[in-house]
Symmetry: C2
Subunit: 513 residues, 2 copies
């Protein structure tokens, strides 16, 4: 349904599902006690923007429903028109993992969507990049300072010779030595580094800078069949720092020459690999930005693309909705496996999934992780869940995948890059300057106020859905077209215009030594 | 004893303790079978440089002694003159922690050393810096890209106005959100960030850049009594990116003006806070570089300075030597507490202290963590252990302290900065370009070959001890004087000359979410 634009002062709420007994206040800055909605409901207390008002009287211990799902139970009786804040909601337990329905509600495949294309860089292995970047891998943090020194020189001395290359990126990190490299969980950061180098935006031109004595042997970061692609600082051939920097530059020069021959060509939208993420969520995330992203995700899936959503602690409390959507038993089991792994990981550190919500989430109206999760998984749209990736694993299937990652923005971003995303869509309610150097990030605001205030950081205003300026469908289509534009290099996202990017942050669940 | 310089071809070994039944080969590139030492011993097989030769026949299961301590037991009979490589040594268990002697061999206090001074920056709180840097704290990784953008502009537009300020450093990291902030171990990264801001090289001029919705509230990074020192990107006053950057620059400008009034003044050596670390160790680490550092450490302690050594997994196997040296029962118990904490931390991740040694260590002749540890703790010299710091805790006592940290170079460096070191001494056998932006790092090579090859990365050649060019005492004095020179700004270390620095790497033993 399309809402008609309304005057700011008219009290307004959004109720998402017919079953819901709460709704969130839309008006900027909230509404005072006595505000009367068109339906006749009158607020008994101040309710801030994005926070929940009770639509009916709710008994103590009765379920509180949003998205048609239980987000908790009333800690005390709640009267119609009262502010249902965090303290009034008892959070339910996370769904047990041993009794979930699997593949019982697999959506019918969506109708194919044809005729949509973008201008991408096709690689020898068939993958397609949205950028043309030299990515230089590192096997250990020790070399980061030296590589960054070399990259500055590559930018100023070599890049001007290769106008078709967009950038050079040092894939630096804090792993590689001083870590328990044979611990069971070491597979995660190592796989991540191996797959990062293979991101389609790097065009298959892998090179590694290593030290020589580190635990993570630089050879482990080379794909099979690639030789002579390591600069080892401790090699006896290098007489000092200058020689090492020269060695890095010489190897980079050869790869830049190859990358410079790449040209954008028309590729079907099915060649896209798109990552979805949210950060700094508020109560509008699940109402405006994430539904618009979910609609665009459905369009991408219909066009044959690979799309992934992530953030284990933000799907954990809605896992029962996802296992039902799993395309088959294997995928459902894989979903449960990733949830169980994370439960154990958090428990080992004396924590649980409730550690996810932030002060900003709560200020934004999200009472707990259940409510946050319900709003988060809407990003995944309505197609079957076609596959599951362990953290940092490379995507090899089309359709909507769940890429298991922590919810931490920078870690999720790093892991999705390793999984092969060539563009990320990032929704935010509170606002974040988040960006990635290796792939463009489209930042979608949940509220128009944020989009206006951060006009030079936010790429897409999904707040227009709440104000009635557009429907979810319209926003989804506009976002889909923006994705094609950005993937084609026709539109530059704000973080790339400013050059503000988050460093890579590996997920290392194993100990450091 | 002072060795006379020798021809490269004369076979030579170093035996460290009268009890030792193995010795390490000194000659570059090792010695072939048949090589005959002055004492009459003839090698039965090739022995690489830095690796161990048996001095006598060693029975199966008999102890193998180096530094007068057991580094393992013979896995099979070993003949005199044979190469005692890693495979021939069974590693002993780590010393049990429940039965250690505490304070039973407290060294007599060393005689005071007077009259040594350096030119430092004295702070209002009495601490003294070796540099004059604006350190800008961050409460979450989200802001890193924005802050780095601002720092570039501060460097080019503001720093020229303030010639007495050395640099501006963005204290960026991957903590602050997406983490289990109430988990028991979250105290470690939070304390580290709090104390980093207080490093004496930053002159007490704290400022924090935060986002606004992150879990780590920026206020938590402010020392008591400091207000108006936070730039919060989500503040409604900031209309977009340009305004945010302006806000950071304005706050930085005010602090730079204060820092610019700082002047170096003559301070007693007792105002120094020196961190000791090793990385990329080889068998010479415990023979040349670390003993020289240990001698210099004794001079520093005698002069009244604060000195700290670190790296739990590299002292764990020699802990029985340290608890005896603890100045009292409390300090001994604190040592044991830190070892036990780390044992449990590693076990939880399916690992143990044997995960410490690297391929480079082994190639360099270190058979296992026991041998590595014995060579590592020599850095601590011969004074009583006067105190113990938990990871990231601020030093408040003089003398030789054990600052508990992982052995990871970059994490140890970050934690020692939080503990307040204003200069670090770093020994390396294999070579590393390691450097810190917030404090100068003197890099000490264990071998002259490395010091020659990396002439523009290594600051001090301790290999001269092995070649007989100088004694440990002479090297220790020379290093002590170099420390005073570098602390005074008279000598610039190589990593600062090139501007190559490792990023901060926090120790976060708690889960990410």
């Amino acid at each position: 349904m399309k809402h008609s634009p309304i005057a700011a002062e008219e009290p307004r709420y959004i109720k998402l599902n017919a079953r819901d007994n709460v709704a969130i206040v839309v008006n900027d800055f909230g509404l005072p006690a006595g505000s009367r909605f068109p339906c006749g409901l009158t607020l008994k207390s101040f309710v801030p923007q994005g926070h929940k008002a009770a639509l009916v009287d709710i008994d103590k211990d009765a379920p509180i429903l949003r998205y048609g799902e239980i987000i908790g139970h009333a800690a005390s009786p709640i009267g119609a028109g009262e502010w249902v804040d965090e303290a009034r909601i008892r959070m339910p337990d996370a769904p047990a993992l041993d009794n979930l329905e699997i593949a019982t509600a697999v959506p019918a495949p969506l109708p194919p969507l044809e005729g949509y294309a973008f201008e991408g860089y096709r690689n020898p292995d068939g993958s397609v990049g949205t950028k043309n970047i030299l990515g230089i891998s590192t096997s250990v943090q020790c070399v980061a300072g030296t590589l960054e020194y070399a990259v500055k020189r590559i930018r100023s001395e070599l890049l001007p010779k290769y106008p078709n290359v967009d950038d050079v990126v040092a894939l630096t990190h804090t792993y590689g030595c001083g870590v328990a490299i044979t611990a069971p969980d070491a597979v995660v950061p190592i796989r991540t580094l191996q797959n990062l180098a293979l991101n389609p935006n790097f065009g298959g031109e892998v090179m590694v800078v290593g030290l020589g004595c580190e635990k993570l042997a630089p050879e482990r970061l080379l794909p099979e069949g690639v030789d002579n692609a390591i600069v080892r600082m401790q090699d006896e051939a290098f007489e000092g720092f200058g020689a090492i920097v020269d060695g890095i530059m010489k190897m980079a020069d050869a790869r830049l020459a190859v990358l410079n021959r790449r040209r954008r060509e028309t590729c079907p939208a099915s060649d896209l690999v798109i990552g979805l993420q949210c950060g700094g969520s508020d109560a509008f995330s699940g109402v405006t930005a994430n539904p618009a992203v979910g609609f665009a995700a459905d369009l991408l899936v219909r066009a044959g693309a690979t799309v992934m959503f992530s953030e284990v602690t933000e799907v954990r409390d809605a896992i029962q909705l996802l296992t039902r959507r799993a395309v088959n038993e294997d995928v459902g089991r894989a979903l449960i496996r990733e949830m169980a792994w994370y439960d154990a990981y958090l428990a080992r550190g004396g924590s649980d999934r409730s550690a996810n919500t932030t002060p900003g989430n709560k200020k934004g109206g999200l009472a707990n992780i259940v409510e946050k999760s319900l709003g988060s998984i809407i990003k995944s749209g309505s197609s079957p869940i076609a596959g599951v990736l362990a953290p940092g694993e490379k995507a090899r299937t089309k359709g909507m995948l769940f890429a298991a990652t922590p919810a931490s923005d920078f870690i999720c971003g790093t892991l999705q890059l390793a999984s092969g995303v060539t563009l990320q869509v990032f929704t935010t309610g509170r606002g974040t300057p988040y960006g990635l150097q290796a792939a463009p990030v489209i930042k979608v605001a949940t509220r128009s106020e944020l989009a206006r205030r951060w006009k030079d950081l936010i790429d897409f205003d999904a707040g227009r859905i709440a104000t009635g300026e557009m429907t979810i469908e319209e926003a989804g289509w506009e976002l889909f077209r923006l994705i094609l534009d950005v993937a084609s290099g026709r539109t530059k996202v704000w973080s790339d215009r400013w050059g503000i990017h988050n460093d890579l942050a590996l997920f290392n669940p194993a100990p450091v030594t």
